[in-house]
Symmetry: C2
């Protein structure tokens, strides 16, 4: 038998097997890989816990994201492996004559893929998702210590016009 998507073990259904990444909505099965990527990061190492079974907070957060039509948790998949992630929040607001905004959060690229251009493609995909949803602005914040990220977003056309404030409760 030669069923498409079944005959080639490198190409299960929905996954490109030609060396090209696929960008798609995350599923519950992606969670361990997603949390491992969040933890494999200079800032994430101190605040995440990738041990299995996953801490209940991650499962509850995934359920809340799934239940909210204005949230899109996405993964980049390459030949069956999760190699990138980000989350988009689609935000309605009165400002700018009632413009929707797309807010990109929690961007991570797997260590082995950094510098490969995957991050740029993932952000470009996210921008198109925002455009498709009618957003007139895309916004994000990055920690002031992530200087490489600042250069990365500037190259993609983002402008660092705002100060980002946080308060821990």
């Amino acid at each position: 038998m030669d069923l498409p998507g079944l005959s080639d073990p490198r190409a299960p259904a929905g996954v490109a097997g030609n060396g090209q990444p696929v960008f798609r909505r995350a599923t519950a099965g992606d969670l361990p890989a997603l949390v491992a990527m969040l933890a494999d990061d200079p800032l994430g190492a101190g605040r995440e816990d990738a041990s299995l079974p996953l801490a209940p907070g991650y499962l509850a957060a995934f359920a809340a994201i799934e239940a909210d039509p204005n949230q899109l948790l996405a993964v980049a998949e390459l030949e069956g492996a999760i190699v990138g992630t980000l989350q988009i929040a689609f935000l309605p607001g009165l400002s700018h004559k009632g413009a929707w905004r797309g807010q990109i959060e929690a961007v991570r690229i797997a260590a082995g893929q950094r510098g490969s251009g995957l991050g740029q493609r993932l952000i470009a995909w996210a921008i198109e998702e925002c455009r498709a949803r009618g957003c007139r602005l895309v916004q994000l914040t990055t920690d002031k210590t992530r200087l490489d990220a600042h250069r990365f977003y500037a190259r993609l056309g983002f402008r660092a016009t705002h100060e980002g404030f946080k308060l821990t409760l």
Copy 2:
């Protein structure tokens, strides 16, 4: 008759008449005052349109906010007048072990009330709303040109740890 909240024309139902602001969810009837406040601002003047009837984008945005249980558009009301506003987006996410965040946007205080302490009380109220929803972080961005706002948030305990990037589509 001496019905509470009806006998005193300065104190319609739900509105304090004692010089104390009330913080509450916005209604459609507040929209003209809200848009006027957004427009009465150095940055907003060039991008908002407070003329009546309101541009359809504002009405559509209000409907989208109302339809989203993770959005709270709030007003500060003082003796029947709308004197402040902000919007809170409650954001689920995997980071920080699945922590919810409260994001404060579009903060405005009516010109006659600036410097009165109303802004501080409005933000304190918003922080409590975030805490009541189980948020572990409150975040916001302000334009780098709003130096007074930076000092204001720093006084309230916020730390300017992030760069805020925007891309106009």
